[in-house]
């Protein structure tokens, strides 16, 4: 990288720090205001559901912001960058998510929750079925699966902060200090000090404002975060299209791209070094043109040369082979090459993707390139799975259900669905365009695709001469993570307080409940932070396991509890356990078959589909063979006992 780029990146870093500081001030002001709203109201109802009077903007934004988690702004861009336009098909289920995921249960759930006076999802099920066992099983499954989500978002929040503040000098000094302090501590000392510092700051901030302001603070900050996300995407779209020379140019260059090859190489300095030389991760080197493709090598890890040592062997690299017609892409790479490096590349030993190697057009078509599967990224049956997964797994997430219990009336719901439909269209479609342009503007980020979002933000704003704008753009994924963390935190603590503590201590005073609630929120947050000090490698698979597990455990039980009067408590317990259990079994088989923690995709269908099918069948069979529930419950929630027939 050139010196001017460093200066501009540093300006972007300072701007990011200021943006971040301003953003956090706003968050705490909103939490303080929300805390004042709690006075004079029923504490639990206000703290966990905002007294169920959310208006259109609040409900729509909190739903959209919670849904668009860190995955939408970090994982999704990374997938678009890695696999291309096929991601439009991958996320096609989102076309109907606002209608199906919200509309499917929101109206009935809100009505049943009001009628039963329920605050949490397990409580709705317990009261609707009149069974303690239903509530207990639901609480255990919810806390278990939701906690995986929480953990993942803590890690994502800390990672984004490290990128956001990377070039800020005050931050660098703090990182050094944290490193010095924690290094001697067993286990904690093995964590990267920059990650550790950001994790601590992130955790304390988000736990503090969530505990202080409760659900209303979460909703208000979600509104602000939703606006930031929307603005960030629109600005990024404009900058990307402008700099790539229009979407047509981006698609044509993308159509000529082939996936990079990965492996190792030997690097040799032309001059013997007189001091230690380090080639940082991401360093580019140009090779001669071959078969109509211009070749470039990029370092996946840094390479070090000691004094007098000219050769470094087995350096991890990728080989980017782009068409000589791809002018934008080639000029972008050449602008990042340092001509004074004086390095020769030899003994290149690289392997191509199992699907898509040397295949033009793979980034603009299905199934998309994939490094470790000959079937490609998205075989048609997997596309079918995801089309089912997004709307229905979305409908079954308890964090969304909590919001569906909180809107004040049906007009609010109707207008919110319309708003979310428009908002999602304005977020997800532009994201696909932005990061397919990213493949052309910033090639070679397969070395660390998860960083493409902040890298694009910095690159685009720096090129446009407005590096300070990077702060706002990178705040978008940060806002997305925060809005998910606060919601999940509240959901887990709500279940613990309402469904466990209050069931055992029904006569606890409001003052006592307040104390227990605050300490539970803080405790859950602290536990998540400690668990993430050294995050496991297979975290992404755990996230999918967590979301799929929640969907499989709750989709059929909740839908049938709301719409099927004949449902029994035995069938509900069996449905939750068989849904969640099936997910666990598919992951166990996946572990045995694939040798790593991942779901086994029978006939290329996602385990979620099989688990929901198992849950549905089990519930119907058990309901038909168990005694009917009390007629009074059917009358209360469905109006007529004849419906039991």
């Amino acid at each position: 990288m050139t010196e001017p780029f460093h200066i501009l990146a540093s300006m972007a870093g300072n701007a990011a720090l200021i943006s971040f500081a301003v953003y956090m001030v706003f968050v705490f002001v909103l939490a303080g205001l929300a805390n004042r709203e709690q006075s004079g109201k029923s504490f639990l109802n206000e703290y966990f559901l905002g007294s169920r009077n959310l208006g259109m903007w609040a409900f729509a934004f909190t739903y959209a912001a919670t849904s668009a988690s860190g995955g939408s702004f970090m994982g999704f861009p990374s997938l678009i960058y890695t696999h291309g336009w096929v991601m439009a098909l991958w996320i096609a289920g989102y076309i109907v998510v606002p209608l199906v995921a919200i509309g499917l249960i929101a109206k009935r759930l809100n009505q049943v929750a009001r009628k039963s006076g329920s605050i949490t999802v397990p409580e709705v099920l317990r009261k609707r079925l009149g069974s303690e066992a239903v509530g207990t099983v639901a609480t255990v499954l919810l806390v278990f699966f939701q906690f995986f989500f929480l953990l993942a978002q803590f890690k994502a929040g800390a990672k984004i902060m490290t990128t956001l503040l990377g070039d800020v000098s005050v931050y660098q000094s703090a990182v050094t200090l944290v490193g010095d302090l924690t290094n001697p501590i067993p286990w904690v000392g093995s964590a990267e000090p920059d990650y550790l510092l950001c994790l601590i700051v992130f955790s304390i901030s988000v736990v503090a404002y969530t505990a202080w302001g409760g659900f209303r603070a979460v909703v208000w900050t979600d509104m602000m975060q939703g606006v930031i996300m929307g603005l960030g995407v629109i600005i990024l779209l404009g900058l990307a299209l402008n700099q790539v020379g229009g979407i047509g140019n981006a698609t044509r260059e993308l159509a000529r791209q082939v996936p990079p090859r990965a492996g190792s190489a030997t690097l040799m300095l032309k001059v013997e070094p007189t001091e230690v030389v380090t080639l940082v991760k991401g360093t580019w080197m140009e090779l001669p043109e071959k078969e109509g493709r211009q070749q470039f090598v990029r370092l996946k890890d840094s390479a070090k040369f000691s004094v007098g040592q000219r050769v470094s062997e087995n350096v991890s690299v990728i080989l980017v082979r782009t068409s000589v017609e791809n002018e934008t892409e080639i000029s972008s790479i050449r602008s990042q090459i340092n001509d004074e490096l004086g390095v020769d590349v030899s003994s290149l030993d690289v392997a191509g993707y199992q699907y898509g190697d040397d295949k033009s057009g793979v980034y603009i078509s299905a199934p998309g390139p994939k490094s470790n599967s000959g079937l490609g990224f998205l075989p048609i049956m997997l596309a079918v799975s995801f089309f089912c997964f997004w709307p229905f797994a979305g409908a079954a997430q308890p964090s969304y259900m909590a919001r569906q219990m909180a809107f004040k009336d049906i007009p609010t719901l109707r207008h919110s669905i319309i708003f979310v439909a428009v908002y999602f269209s304005m977020i997800y479609f532009p994201l696909i365009i932005i990061f397919t342009c990213g493949r052309v503007l910033l090639p070679g980020w397969e070395i660390d695709a998860d960083r493409i979002m902040p890298e694009m933000a910095t690159f685009l704003t720096t090129n446009a001469g407005v590096p300070w704008l990077a702060g706002l753009l990178v705040a978008a994924p940060f806002a997305a993570v925060m809005s998910s963390v606060d919601s999940f935190l509240l959901l887990v603590s709500g279940s613990v307080v309402r469904d466990v503590y209050q069931r055992r201590n029904p006569d606890a005073s409001e003052v006592k409940m307040k104390k227990v609630t605050y300490w539970t929120t803080i405790g859950v947050g602290a536990l998540a932070m400690v668990a993430m000090l050294n995050p496991p490698q297979f975290l992404q698979d755990l996230i999918v396991f967590g979301s799929g597990g929640l969907g499989a455990s709750f989709l059929m039980p909740v839908v049938l509890a709301l719409y099927w009067p004949r449902l029994t408590s035995q069938a509900t317990v069996a449905g939750m356990l068989s849904g969640g259990g099936s997910m666990a079994i598919f992951y166990l088989i996946g572990y045995v078959v694939n040798g790593k923690f991942s779901g086994y995709e029978l006939w290329s269908l996602h385990p979620f589909i099989w688990s929901v099918a198992v849950s549905a069948v089990v519930m119907v069979v058990v309901a038909r063979n168990s005694p009917p529930i009390q007629a009074v419950l059917v009358e209360k929630y469905f109006g007529k006992t004849e419906l039991m027939q």
Binding site: I95, K115, T251, V384, I410
Partner: protein
């Protein structure tokens, strides 16, 4: 309101919610058939297209198999929410346990 009127309201509201749910499921099926049916041919054949067939600067399958269904689904959502979905009186909250 009498007890029997109240029960009738609950039953009517339940039936209306069920009708709305069936419509949503139908929409999901129709969109699924369109998106997956069309793209199972168009999107999976696009890598062999020479020259690349583009519309509005994007691969043609994205426009016909994703963008247009998205627009149609949004139009339907607006109609559904403004015209089909019925307002119901919301129950007053009972006192907390």
């Amino acid at each position: 309101m009498s007890e029997s009127d109240h029960k009738t309201d609950i039953a009517t509201s339940y039936r209306q919610s069920k009708r709305e749910m069936y419509v949503m499921i139908c929409v999901w099926v129709v969109v699924g058939l369109w998106v997956l049916g069309y793209n199972s041919q168009a999107a999976y054949a696009a890598e062999n297209e020479v020259p690349l067939r583009m519309l509005f600067g994007m691969p043609r399958w994205v426009v016909f198999g994703w963008l247009i269904p998205l627009g149609m689904a949004n139009v339907f959502t607006i109609w559904f929410c403004l015209r089909f979905m019925k307002d119901e009186p919301m129950e007053e909250l009972p006192e907390e346990e």
